[in-house]
Symmetry: C2
Subunit: 348 residues, 2 copies
C-alpha cells in the first residue's frame, strides 16, 4: 500500500467534513471470519465472548486487516453485547446460532440488571484498545458500542430476531419499562464510549443495526433520542472526539440526526441513494458507506461497477468509503483487495 | 356497520385521488389465521395450496372478514406463489416452515419453467374471484400478485429468506439469467392480473414485500422496471383498472413510481412518514397504509394513539387506511374491531 494514501489524516480529515480524493476506506467487520488469519486466531479461544475478552487475541484481530489491506482506520475487535454482559445480563454465543441472553420482559427481570457497568468485566476491552493503539502505525482506531435500541432488542428477545418483534411489542405494551431499559443503556453506552476514548480510541461509532424497523414515532423515541443523549454525554467528557452514528435503514429519517451537535458522520446502509442522504444531512457531516456487502462477495465486473458508482455518487461530499453493512464471512479475500485497489486509484 | 360508510364508492373514490373522510379501510391479510372462522375453514383442506385452489373454501375465506368487520374492500384469498406453481416450479408449504420450491440457480433450472402460465392450474383462482364477486355486496374485490422481484426471491432461494441473499447474489453473478426470470414473471403476472380483472376483480395490487433490501441501481432494475412493465401491459388490456403497488421498504425511492401511468395508488410500509411519501408521489396517487401490525397486536391506548396519528398524518391526501404489512396471526379479533370503529368515527 502507498503510505501517503493511507496517512492518518485522510480519515480524520473526512470526518471533519473535508472532501478527500480518493476517499479514506475501512469496512465494517473488516476484522472477521472471511480472513484465514482471523480463523486461526479465533481457534485459540473456546467461546466467542472469551475471544473478545482476551486482549492479546482481540488486539491481534483488530490489527490483522490493517496489515493485510492497509485500511485508513482500524476498528476495535469486540461485540456490542459486552454491554449487557457488563450490566449483569449473562450473554453466551452458541456456534452458528448467534447470541443467547436471558430475555428481559418484566420489571423483575429489569431490576436484576446492574445500575452501572461492571468495569472489571470491561477492563479487557479497554486493554485491547490500549494494545491495539500502541501497535498501530499512524492509523486512527475506532471504538464502538451498539445503540440502545439495537442492544435492547437482543436484551428483550434473548437472541437475534428477524424483525425485533419482542422488543417492539414490549415498547408498545410497557413503554415506561422499556424507557427505563433504554435509559440504562444510554448511561452505560456514554460511559463505555468515553472510557474507550480515554483508553486510546480516536473515534467512536454507535451501531443501530435495527433502527430501520421502527415506525416514525418509535424511531424518534427509541433510535434518535438515545443516540442524541449518548453523543451529548460523550461530548461533555471528550468535547473533540469524532462520533459516527450508523442508523441502518433510517432512509427518510436521516434528517432527524442533522441537528445533533457533536455527531460528525453518519453511516449509510446499501439502500439509500447518496443524493437522498446528502439532502438530509448538512455539509458538515461526513457520509460513510455504502457498497452492498453482497456485491463484494460476488466480485468481478459487478463489484467494479458498484464501487465506481459509490465513488461517483458520493464525490460531491466528504465521504468515507465503507460497506452498507458488515463484510460477509464467505467473502473472498481477493475481492477485498480488488476493492481497496480500485478505491485507492480513484481521483475525484 | 353503517352501510353508508361501507359503500363501494369510498374505496374506489380514494383510488381516484379523492379525499374521503373517514378514509376507507381494509387490511393486508385481513383474511387469515387471526380469525377463528378462518382456522375452522382451513382445517377442511390438507395443504395450504390445496386450500388456495379450492374455490368454495378460498371464496369463503375472502368473504369472512367482510362479514365480520365490514371492510371497504375484500381481497382475494390466495398466495403469491401460485404463479411459480403455474409456471411449473413445484411449490409446497410445510407447516410452520413456510414455502418450499426447487430453487432456480442455473440456466438448466430456468429452462424447465413453462413459457406461459398453466391456465388449468390457475382456473380455481379465477373461479374463486367469480364466486367471491357474486357473493359480495357492493364491496370492491381486490385481486393481486407478487411483484417479480419478490416472487423471484422465493424461486431462486427455494424458500423464504431473511435478506433475499440467494436472489441478490444470482442477480449480481448472472444478471442475464436473472433478467430472463424477471421477464418471465413480468409476462406471467401481467397475464394473471388481466385475467383476474376479467374474472371480476375490481382492483389489483402488486406486492413487492422484499423491495426494501435492494441498493438503488438494483431497485430501479428489479423492482421499479418490472412493476412499470406489468402496469403498462395490464393497462393495454384493461385501461381503466385501478392498480396499486406495494413496494415495501421503498423509502426514499418511492419517487421512482411517480411517473408510472396507470398506477393509481402506492401502499406504504410502517417505517415511512406520511409527509415523506406525499412529497415523492403527486396528488393523483392515493396513499395506502401504514399502521404497524405490531401495535394492532398490542392493542389498548397505544393502538388508539397510533391509529389517530395515521389518520391525522395522511389527512391532507387521498388515503386508504391499511396496515404497513399483513395482520399477524396472534392478533386478537377485538383489536381489529377497535381499529375499524375508531377509523370509522374519524372526521377529517
Amino acid at each position: 500500500m502507498d503510505p501517503a494514501v493511507a496517512a492518518p489524516s485522510r480519515f480524520l480529515s473526512a470526518l471533519k467534513g473535508e472532501r478527500q480524493s480518493p476517499p479514506p476506506i475501512w469496512l465494517m467487520r473488516q476484522a472477521g471470519r472471511y480472513l484465514p488469519e482471523y480463523r486461526a486466531l479465533r481457534a485459540k479461544a473456546k467461546t466467542f465472548l472469551d475471544f473478545c475478552y482476551r486482549p492479546a487475541l482481540a488486539a491481534e484481530a483488530t490489527l490483522q486487516p490493517i496489515r493485510r489491506f492497509g485500511f485508513d482506520a482500524a476498528i476495535l475487535f469486540s461485540d456490542i453485547l459486552v454491554v449487557p454482559d457488563a450490566l449483569g445480563q449473562r450473554v453466551s454465543f452458541e456456534e452458528a446460532q448467534g447470541p443467547r441472553l436471558e430475555g428481559i420482559r418484566t420489571e423483575a427481570d429489569f431490576s436484576r440488571l446492574r445500575e452501572v457497568l461492571d468495569l472489571e468485566a470491561l477492563a479487557p476491552v479497554l486493554e485491547t484498545i490500549d494494545r491495539a493503539r500502541a501497535a498501530l502505525p499512524d492509523i486512527p482506531l475506532i471504538g464502538f458500542c451498539g445503540a440502545p435500541w439495537t442492544v435492547a432488542s437482543y436484551m428483550v428477545a434473548g437472541r437475534g430476531t428477524p424483525d425485533q418483534a419482542p422488543a417492539r411489542l414490549l415498547a408498545y405494551r410497557s413503554p415506561d419499562l422499556f424507557q427505563l431499559l433504554i435509559d440504562r443503556l444510554v448511561d452505560a453506552s456514554a460511559d463505555y464510549l468515553s472510557r474507550q476514548l480515554g483508553a486510546g480510541a480516536d473515534v467512536v461509532q454507535i451501531f443501530d443495526s435495527w433502527a430501520g424497523v421502527l415506525p416514525p414515532a418509535e424511531f424518534a423515541r427509541w433510535c434518535v433520542a438515545p443516540i442524541r443523549a449518548i453523543v451529548e454525554r460523550v461530548r461533555e467528557r471528550r468535547p473533540h472526539a469524532p462520533i459516527i452514528a450508523f442508523p441502518r435503514g433510517a432512509a427518510t429519517r436521516l434528517k432527524e440526526f442533522a441537528d445533533i451537535e457533536g455527531l460528525w458522520a453518519v453511516g449509510l446502509d446499501t439502500t439509500i441513494e447518496a443524493a437522498a442522504a446528502a439532502q438530509q444531512l448538512p455539509e458538515r457531516f461526513a457520509l460513510q458507506g455504502n457498497l452492498d456487502p453482497l456485491v463484494l462477495l460476488a466480485g468481478g465486473r459487478r463489484l467494479d461497477e458498484a464501487t465506481d458508482r459509490v465513488l461517483q455518487d458520493f464525490a460531491p461530499r466528504a465521504h468515507i468509503f465503507n460497506l452498507g453493512h458488515g463484510v460477509l464471512p464467505e467473502t473472498p479475500v481477493e475481492h477485498v483487495e480488488r476493492l481497496v485497489r480500485r478505491v485507492r486509484r480513484a481521483r475525484g
